[in-house]
């Protein structure tokens, strides 16, 4: 008998979630292991972001509980949760007239109070977050003047400055070009590897999800359709089931992770020239 060394950072226990009255999940159970990168994938409307919001106590489940380190998350003071769990939503509002450093500094909010103002530890956390995201040189720029890729790195720096051991990222690569998507995902993986941060994220690009995740959770029809290591999950059968997609899965020539190659219907794969 072997003892397992993994611990559960976050868990959904019998969680029922509805969006505007329509049930998305009923009685869902899911555990997220500490120190790993777990990515939710699924078709549009499969409830990926909804589940992530429930895990981050942004949405309240109709029934069931979300547990953080074994304790019901809603029984914990929200400020204490914020010291242990950070959230980067899909569309955060970038403030005007605010420097990158001031934006990132707001990540220290859960560590401060009326009686515990800004300290050297706060400044050190902000500096470390700016350095880790490569934003140190842009720290005094106005956040509103950043490009999309720079801005996303600034937001990730805010999340890092929060120094929470668990981080939830809702589609962190949306609106970015491929280079900046890679940039963000490499950053996320390096945070996971160097700080041991538990990462749970929602991604749309299946091949990138496979490349940068330890575990993929495929959501659809109100439940978990497949769950496991990328090669175990990304099979043609699962892709057909979850995405209604006819695809082949081949080894990524760069890193050997599964690469999803959609198949064109017969006869359509080559352009037909009508002379």
């Amino acid at each position: 008998m072997t003892t397992t060394t993994t611990t559960t950072a976050l868990a959904a226990r019998g969680v029922t979630l509805a969006y505007d009255g329509d049930p998305v999940f009923e009685g869902l159970d899911l555990e997220v292991e500490t120190g790993r990168v777990t990515t939710f994938i699924g078709a549009n409307g499969s409830g990926k972001s909804t589940l992530l919001k429930a895990l981050g106590r942004v949405l309240r489940p109709g029934s069931g509980t979300v547990e953080l380190d074994g304790a019901p998350i809603r029984s914990l003071p929200t400020r204490e949760v914020a010291r242990r769990l950070a959230i980067l939503p899909q569309k955060p509002l970038t403030p005007t007239a605010t420097s990158v450093r001031d934006l990132v500094a707001r990540g220290r909010h859960p560590h401060q109070s009326m009686f515990r103002p800004w300290t050297a530890a706060d400044a050190a956390a902000v500096d470390a977050a700016l350095a880790a995201t490569g934003m140190a040189a842009l720290a005094d720029r106005d956040a509103g003047s950043l490009s999309g890729g720079q801005l996303q790195r600034a937001w990730i720096a805010l999340v890092l400055a929060q120094e929470a051991p668990v981080v939830l990222l809702d589609e962190p690569t949306t609106f970015l070009d491929l280079t900046h998507q890679l940039d963000v995902l490499r950053l996320v993986r390096s945070i996971n590897r160097t700080r041991g941060t538990t990462v749970v994220m929602v991604l749309h690009d299946l091949s990138l999800a496979a490349r940068y995740s330890d575990r993929l959770v495929v959501l659809g029809r109100g439940r978990v359709l497949a769950d496991g290591a990328p090669w175990d999950v990304l099979t043609p059968e699962v892709l057909r089931d979850a995405f209604d997609l006819d695809a082949r899965v081949v080894p990524d020539p760069s890193c050997g992770t599964p690469l999803v190659v959609p198949v064109e219907p017969a006869g359509d794969h080559a352009p037909v020239w009508v002379g």
Partner: protein
Amino acid sequence: MTATVDRGTLDRGTPPALRRGRVLAATLTCLVAVVLAGLYGITAGSSSLTVADVAAVLVGQGTGGQELIVYQLRMPRVVGGILVGAALGLAGALTQTFARNPLATPDILGVTSGASFGAVLAIVVGGGTYAVAPGLLTLGLPAMAALGALVTSAVVYGLAWRGGIDSFRLILIGIGTTAALTGLTQYMVARAQITEAGAATQWLVGSLSGISWASVWPVLAALVVLAPLAWSQVRDLGIGQLGDEVSIGLGVSLQRHRLLVILCAVLLVAAAVSASGPIEFVAFVAPQIALRLARTDRPPLAASALVGALVVVGGDGLARGLLPGEVPVGIITAVVGAPYLIWLLTRSRGGSA
């Protein structure tokens, strides 16, 4: 729904320390301006006092008549104007910030229209003749105005509650409630006797002419209690600019924070309107002017309060000093404040979000 800020005037590379310095500089400048406007307000008026006369009175060397004018007429008016303006400016900054929308003023949340309804009800139903009106003006009318403001705000907040407060929904319900109450108020004015209608109309413009020391104390008490409470929410207000989800993620107790902010704003406006009538434009324009002076991401609270004080007391001083007759300050703030805001908006190269 982002706060309106002209990006064109931002200094991209200004270090944060310098930005905070700019907030401090804007606040101190406003403070000096308020003091100067207050001193001018004491000298200005129909019975002319020179600066030397006022100085003589303040050191106890004035005549009995001069002392009466300074201590019983001009001082309560100036101090009351400063407090009313500060309360309105602070309330406007609070609501505009938490709602992330410059349109979200206490007027829109129904506070002002509720106060007006209560006051006009008191004038029309309880007023009757001029003989009764002075009695109402000292106690009954402010109390009715405050009651109207509080009841209306509670109704608006209750209607907007749906397992939590969504600021957009709150604004829409506030607009609807304001429209309904304004209609009812106008109906009462239209049906009232000519003397009562005149008194009601005069009250609805907003004026400092009825202010005495008795009406100053409630506003001062409200500010002394509520300004520190508002200040305790200043960091959460800053986090709130990043959106609801980020706020929750950073550990802000969103509903408790909003309830506190709305409560502060409602009580401040109720106190101010009870003393002076609805000087409506101040809560909207003062935070927007302060925002542009300090160049921050949200209206700075202290500077907004001071700009509000400056607009009210300066407007009232100008009305008494430069214009013939007794022009209510509510008219001055609209006529001077609105063009200034439009000038600030058009001056920026980038336009506003």
